[in-house]
Symmetry: C2
Subunit: 459 residues, 2 copies
């Protein structure tokens, strides 16, 4: 659509000259997210409040340019990339935590607050914000809400959606509105708050959020269990849950993931194991001890694995370090990486792991899986040489096959990363034409001119 | 719009003659819900499957008649009443539980299954469906989803919305679609499942649902605490939660509620008390005992109340009997009853109770409150003589004042009953014109002809 000098000048008038740029450097800096795809915006603006956002969106409707909101740019599916041009609207100036209400267990915050900063702020008051994406140290609450971020604690505590009570949102047409409630319950009118959560910034710009908190668990305990067979590991997970125990995390790494990490860290991981489970329970002291004992008794029974219980915080941190090193460890195995976050029914994880192994054997590419065994949310990675057309095409075919198998098992193509542009080409595998048409009508009901974050999710 | 004999005949062809009626008796039988308002439908049909529902809705679009879906007709806000005429579509033939998956903790059921029947079915397999509206013994899952029912366990476990993973839905235009997922996580496309939950049957007809389950808690313990001052009771609630204890229920009854129940049951309740708290914890044996001890230590400390811990199941049942007798007990106090379910921040309950007391004194009407102290969800009741115009008008004024005060405290007008027609006149107090206009556009995106459940929520 092309941003005229006159419109750029108007944008600068709204946010102030120092918060408005179209320099080549800034265009490059705001052209990326964690997908490493490159879409430079025509201009970058940094609004300070909802009024600024509203004025920008009104201007976009008048002059027909696209606006793509952006937090820290750490998204995994391209949700914040200005793929159709227009401006990047960076929300980092919305960086205040407004209230932490210890009586009512709610907090009010702005979208540019870094999730980890928010977590620590509420923890310092004895409260707990459970959503914990791996990106928590740099991603923002606004981005987490837009993508409905998950993370390692979702098994027990749910995902971002479960902690959003209400929001102030600027609609694509510029109206500043409140949706949802400030209380833990509320059923007046359509549930717009939860419709906007996970809509990837296509239905409105979040300018304030009211979040539900929990009391901070007194303590947590962490353990590893090492398995020679993936099926036994999966059975252990099933048996833990069948006994009514819901740990806050049950993570797994497959054999390839274990070897990649060991190559990087030299941490003494068992490179012949088919799977490692990383299990963490929380609660008060006695409850946590009890949960741990019950899990150990499962893992020493028919679901026998080699168990290691962390006796100190440092030991627990070392266990997590291995899990968190997987993504960095992969860089050595190819210049190209496809990173998917499929979900399958928990008891079908072994089938999916076997499928991935057979695809790796067939293609000769490095493929691995790890992730949230407790809720069936598998991070599937394929490494390849991105300058090699054959490898690239084999990698893409493998992703295609994994998505098909995921859906055949009753799963979904994304548990927490979203669709954005990365999964948009596959969206019709999962979403029927009728539903996609309905989503497009909903998008139009919010954004008749189609100016807000176009080109995402096929919408 | 008027249903012609020809269209009635076509309806009968779809569902079969024995499942299609326009007799005066059936019109009367399906004219009510728990609001006791009277809106007879022109015809009543009982579809057996999604294809029937689709054919009926397509016919409605072609011939321009209204369709209002209905479960057990136990709604508190008129959501299932055919207020604009047309047909009542009764979903009771959708009465099968299709699967209960103990490995993945999900169940698939049809909307006409009675909630209590479903609860007991999953409990017999060691699983737990936490949403537990007071109507569970007769209301249906479909109605519970449509209204996003809550209940006494919401403090710890959340509401119906938190247990819906996916649904088969017939759109108002007749398409049979699937929304949401079958797994515990999923973020592909807009969150239509959660948009439809709580939309009061205005956006689609649910024909199948996938519900998330939990392991069944081993046991529960119940206790009462009696208070001379509402403020002390509220402080006890706050202190319990501040200490990181989340009971599955913290219910309260105010003094008027206590006296009404005592008049009915003669159960030895303390009629001079200003408040009774009914607290229930659950978990495994040792965890539950620990929670109970911790609560007792709070209640024996600065938040002293007269405590009674149920030592047997029968004792616990007696405690719940008093709580559940409140609504029936009120019948003696007037022919008219207004029953609202406002939510305020938990620590503002004493303010609201004081407000209600002053309104009762000013008007001379019986007013009381009880409900879910833990999540601030207050059932506020006004009793009056409905043939007395002055009393009726005073009662309505009191509701108006309570809603205004609710919103001033940062609350919402409904925590679990929904808007329907009962709260529609007040909807603009809480929902801004911009948001209401947006909701209307969403309604139109689903239902361009406006044939499905018209006249609800001002939509």
């Amino acid at each position: 659509m092309g941003l005229s000098p006159k419109v750029f000048h108007q944008l600068c008038n709204i946010v102030g000259k120092e918060y408005c740029t179209r320099s080549a450097e800034d265009q490059v800096c705001y052209a990326y997210d964690a997908t490493r795809r490159f879409y430079p915006p025509e201009a970058v603006v940094f609004p300070k409040d909802a009024q600024d956002v509203s004025a920008i969106l009104q201007l976009a409707n008048t002059h027909g340019f696209y606006v793509t909101p952006r937090g820290a740019g750490s998204g995994m599916s391209g949700g914040s990339l200005p793929v159709a041009g227009g401006i990047a609207m960076v929300m980092t100036r919305f960086d205040r935590i407004l209230t932490i209400d210890t009586d009512n267990l709610v907090a009010v915050a702005q979208p540019g607050v870094v999730t980890g900063v928010f977590q620590r702020a509420v923890e310092s008051k004895g409260l707990f914000y459970p959503p914990d994406p791996s990106s928590a140290d740099f991603s923002t609450l606004g981005g987490n809400l837009a993508e409905c971020a998950g993370g390692v604690r979702a098994l027990k505590y749910g995902v971002t959606r479960d902690y959003v009570l209400g929001m102030e949102v600027v609609l694509p047409t510029g109206e500043i509105v409140r949706v949802g409630v400030q209380t833990t319950k509320g059923v007046v009118g359509y549930d717009l708050a939860r419709l906007i959560v996970g809509s990837e910034g296509t239905l409105g710009v979040i300018t304030e959020m009211t979040l539900r908190l929990l009391p901070l668990p007194e303590t947590s305990r962490t353990m590893l269990a090492v398995y020679d067979r993936m099926e036994t590991a999966a059975e252990a997970v099933a048996e833990i849950i069948r006994r009514g125990i819901i740990p806050r995390a049950i993570e797994y790494m497959d054999n390839t993931a274990i070897r990649c990490v060991e190559n990087l860290l030299d941490a003494g991981l068992p490179v012949d194991a088919e799977a490692i489970l990383l299990i963490e329970v929380d609660g008060n002291e006695s409850e946590t001890r009890l949960l741990l004992d019950r899990i150990v008794s499962v893992l020493e029974g028919e679901c026998r694995g080699r168990i290691q219980v962390a006796e100190t915080r440092e030991e627990a941190a070392r266990m997590w370090k291995a899990r968190k090193a997987i993504s960095p460890a992969l860089r050595r195995y190819g210049t190209g990486k496809l990173n998917e976050d499929i979900v399958v029914p928990r008891n079908r994880i072994p089938d999916m792991v076997a499928k991935i192994r057979s695809l790796a054997e067939k293609t000769g590419l490095t493929m691995l899986s790890f992730g949230h065994a407790g809720d069936g949310n598998i991070h599937f990675n394929v490494m390849f040489d991105k300058d090699d057309a054959r490898q690239t095409s084999l990698a893409l075919e493998a992703v295609d096959a994994v998505f098909d198998y995921t859906l055949a098992l009753g799963g979904t193509m994304s548990g927490e990363h979203g669709v954005g542009i990365a999964k948009a080409p596959y969206m019709k595998k999962e979403i029927s034409d009728d539903v996609l048409a309905l989503m497009k009508r909903i998008k139009r009901a919010f954004d008749p001119a189609g100016i807000l974050n176009p080109g995402k999710m096929l919408l």
